[in-house]
C-alpha cells in the first residue's frame, strides 16, 4: 500500500510508521504518561494477534493483561475499572464479537455518567479491529460502527491513516468518554508519516484527504483509500473529486460535511458495512435534511448488501464497494 502523507500544514520532523505501529506507539506513549492506563484483551500480553500491543507487557509489567476468551468479561471488567478511575484499553481481537458486550457498552458504559448524575466519567477505549480481511469469513469481517452510533454516550472513531490513528487514539486516551476505536485490519500494514513529537487528533473533526470541486465522497477507514484511488482515476477525465474522511462517526463533523457538499453540490457516501440502517444511511439523511437545497443530484450510497460477508475471495471483493464502484457512482451523478 502507498504511504499516506501528513495533513497539509503540519510542519515538523516526521517518521514513517505503519498503522499497527501507530496503535502501539499511541498506547506506549500514553501508558508512559498516564499510569492509570492498562491494556486488557485476548492475546495482548504474550502474543499480540495483530502485533498492536507487541512488547508492551515487557515495558509495562502488570499493565497488559491477557484474559480468557470472553469479550463480555473483558469489556465488563474494563467498564468497572473505568468507573473506578482507571483508563482501560480493551481489545476485541476480532471486532465482530463486540456483539457479545452490547449490554456492557450500551447499557452501562454509554449511560453511566448520565445515570449517576455526572458523578463519574467513563474513560474507556475499546479497540475493535474491524472490516474485511482476506478470507476471514462471516464472523470475522464485519464493520459494526453504526450499532454504536445508535447508542447514546458512546464515541465512535475509525481512522484511515497512521497519522490519524495515532493522534486519535492518544486523544481518546486523554478524554472522559467511552470510545469505540475501530481499526480497519486491512490498514495495519499501511505506512504513513507521523510527527516525531507528541500530538493528538481530536475526535469529531473530519479531514479533507483530497480537495475537489465536483463531487464529495464521504467515507472513513479503509474505504478512504479506495475513494482516493477513484479520485485519481476520475481526475484523468477532468472530474474533480473531494474525499472527505469523516474519521469520527460520533461526534460526526457535520459542519465539514455541510461545507464540502455546499461546494460540490453532489455527495457519494461509501462504506463497507451492510446497507440497511448503516452509518452511511444516517450521513446521507443528514445531508438530505440540511443541505438539500444545495444538492444538484441525488445523494448516492455505496454499501454492502445485507448478506453475511463471504469467505471466497471473488465474492469478498464483490460484496463491498471497490474503487471501480466509486468511479461509476461519481460518473452517474454528473
Amino acid at each position: 500500500m502507498m504511504a499516506t502523507p501528513m495533513p497539509a500544514g503540519v510542519q515538523m520532523e516526521t517518521r514513517r510508521i505503519t498503522f499497527r505501529d501507530a496503535v502501539r506507539e499511541a498506547l506506549q506513549e500514553e501508558m508512559q504518561r498516564d499510569p492509570t492506563i492498562f491494556v486488557i484483551g485476548e492475546c495482548v500480553e504474550l502474543r499480540s494477534a495483530w502485533r498492536t500491543t507487541r512488547d508492551l507487557s515487557v515495558l509495562f509489567p502488570g499493565r497488559v493483561r491477557d484474559t480468557p476468551i470472553s469479550e463480555s468479561a473483558i469489556v465488563g471488567a474494563a467498564v468497572g475499572a473505568a468507573m473506578l478511575g482507571m483508563r482501560p484499553v480493551a481489545e476485541i481481537m476480532v471486532g465482530d464479537f463486540v456483539t457479545t458486550c452490547m449490554d456492557e457498552l450500551v447499557n452501562q458504559a454509554g449511560k453511566a455518567r448520565y445515570m449517576f448524575g455526572g458523578q463519574i466519567d467513563l474513560p474507556l477505549v475499546v479497540r475493535i479491529p474491524t472490516g474485511l480481511a482476506k478470507n476471514a469469513a462471516a464472523q470475522h469481517s464485519q464493520t459494526l460502527e453504526s450499532w454504536f452510533m445508535h447508542a447514546p454516550g458512546l464515541l465512535v472513531a475509525a481512522p484511515s491513516t497512521p497519522y490519524d490513528c495515532k493522534g486519535m487514539l492518544k486523544a481518546a486516551l486523554r478524554g472522559r468518554d467511552p470510545v469505540l476505536f475501530f481499526e480497519y485490519k486491512m490498514l495495519y500494514a499501511l505506512q504513513g508519516d507521523v510527527p516525531a513529537d507528541d500530538y493528538t487528533v481530536p475526535l469529531g473533526v473530519a479531514d479533507v484527504k483530497r480537495a475537489g470541486r465536483d463531487v464529495t465522497v464521504l467515507c472513513w477507514g479503509s474505504v478512504v483509500h479506495k475513494a482516493l484511488a477513484a479520485a485519481v482515476a476520475l481526475e484523468a477525465d477532468g472530474v474533480s473529486v473531494e474525499v472527505l474522511d469523516l474519521r469520527s462517526l460520533v461526534p460526526l463533523d457535520t459542519p465539514a460535511i455541510q461545507r464540502s457538499v455546499e461546494r460540490t453540490h453532489r455527495a457519494v457516501v461509501v462504506e463497507e458495512a451492510c446497507r440497511p440502517a448503516s452509518a452511511g444511511a444516517d450521513i446521507a439523511a443528514w445531508i438530505a435534511e440540511h443541505v438539500f437545497y444545495s444538492l444538484d443530484a441525488p445523494i448516492k450510497r455505496l454499501a454492502a448488501p445485507p448478506v453475511p460477508k463471504p469467505f471466497s475471495t471473488p465474492l469478498e471483493q464483490a460484496v463491498v464497494p471497490q474503487t471501480d464502484d466509486i468511479v461509476r457512482a461519481v460518473r452517474e451523478l454528473l
Binding site: Y293, L295, D296, L334
Partner: protein, 399 residues
Amino acid sequence: MATKIGMPNLGHTMEAGTVVQWLKQEGETVARGEPLAEVESDKVVFTIEAPASGVLLRVIVPANATVKVGHVLGYVGEPGEPVPEVDAAPQPLPVASPGIPAPPLPAAAPRPSGPGERPRISPLARRLAQEHGLDPEQLPGSGPRGSVTQEDVLAAVAAHAQPPAVRTPAAPAVAERRPLRAMRRTIAQRMTQSWQQAPQVTQMLEVNMSAAEHYRQGRDLSVNDLILAAAARALVEFPQLNAALVDDSIEVYADVNIGLAVALDDGLVTPVVRGADRLSLAELNRQRRGLVDKATAGRLELGDMADGTFTITNLGSEGIRFFTPILNPPQAAILGMGQMARSAAVVDGRLEVRPLMGLSLTFDHRVVDGLPAARFLARIKSLLEDPAGLAAHAPQLGE
C-alpha cells in the same frame, strides 16, 4: 357464461383508452387468442385478443369511442348466450370532438422521463431558478437522466440577462415598461458572478471632511463631486485600481470612467461619467447631475451605463458609515461612501467635533494587493482633506 372484454390498462398513466377498430363483427366466430379489437392509449396501440373461443356476442363500445380503463367493450361467448345488461352507451368522457377543445393530455415529456414522473429538477436548480424568477420545468436538462441542474439554470439566467442587441427608437417608452424581473435578474446574475469569481477584500477609513465642507461653501458642488474628483485623480495615480481581470490577463484602463450606483425603486443602475479624470469639478457636477436625473427618470440609455472602469456607491443618506460594497464585474475596485456626520475627532491632540465620513474600498485581490489598495484609499483621503489641490488639478479643460 359470456366472457367480458374490458378496456386494458396499458400503463401507469393510462386512465382511458379509445377503441380504434373492431377486427370482428358481432356474431362472427372467434378463436381464443385471436385478435379481436385494437385499442389505443395516448402512447400505444394494443391488440386485444379473444379471451375465449366462441362468437363475438355483442359490441358495447364502438370504434372511436373512449372509455375508462376496465370498462366493458363487449362480450364473447356461445351463440345465443345471454349478455349481461350493460348500459350500452359508453360512460361520458371528455373526448375530442369538433368545437370542443380536447382536455389537456399529458403532453409529450419535454425531457426523457418515465410515465407519471415529475420533471427531474435538482433541489439546487429549483432553488436557483426560483431566485432568478425562472420556471425550472421549462428548462432543458443536461444532468443525469435529463435532470435540470445548476448549470442549466445558470445558462438560462445568463441567456436571459443578455441585453438586447439593438435598441429600438422607441427606447424611452420601453425603458419605462422595463419589467422589474429583468433588472433584478441582471443584478442577480452580475452580483453572483462578482461574488463567485472575484476574491474581494474591503478596507475602510475615515476622512475628515472639514476642509471639503469649507471648500464647498459658495460653490455649486456636492460631496459626491469631490469624491468623484478625488477618486478620478487617485485612479490616475494608481492605475492598477483602474483595471479588470479579463480572461487570463489584467487590463489596465487608459480611460477613467467612473460609474455611479443610483438606487431606483426596483433596483439599481450605474450610469458612467466618462473621462472623469479630465473633467473640472464644475463639469463633474454637471455631468453627474445629468446622469442621476436620467437614471431617476428611467431614461438612461445603454451607452450611459457602458464602459465603466470603477464604481462609486453611496449609502450615507441612510446613516451607514461603513459597508462592504460588492465589485461591479469585471472592475477591480469599488468605493463605498458612508455617512458624513459630526463626530469626535482628535485634531492637534485635542478632541474636536468634525464632519467625518467613512469610505469603504472593495478590491479584487486577484488584480491588486492590500497595500497598494490601502495607499489608493489613503490618497483619496488626503485629496479630500485638501480639496484645493483637487480644484487646482482641474486640468486641460480649466475650471
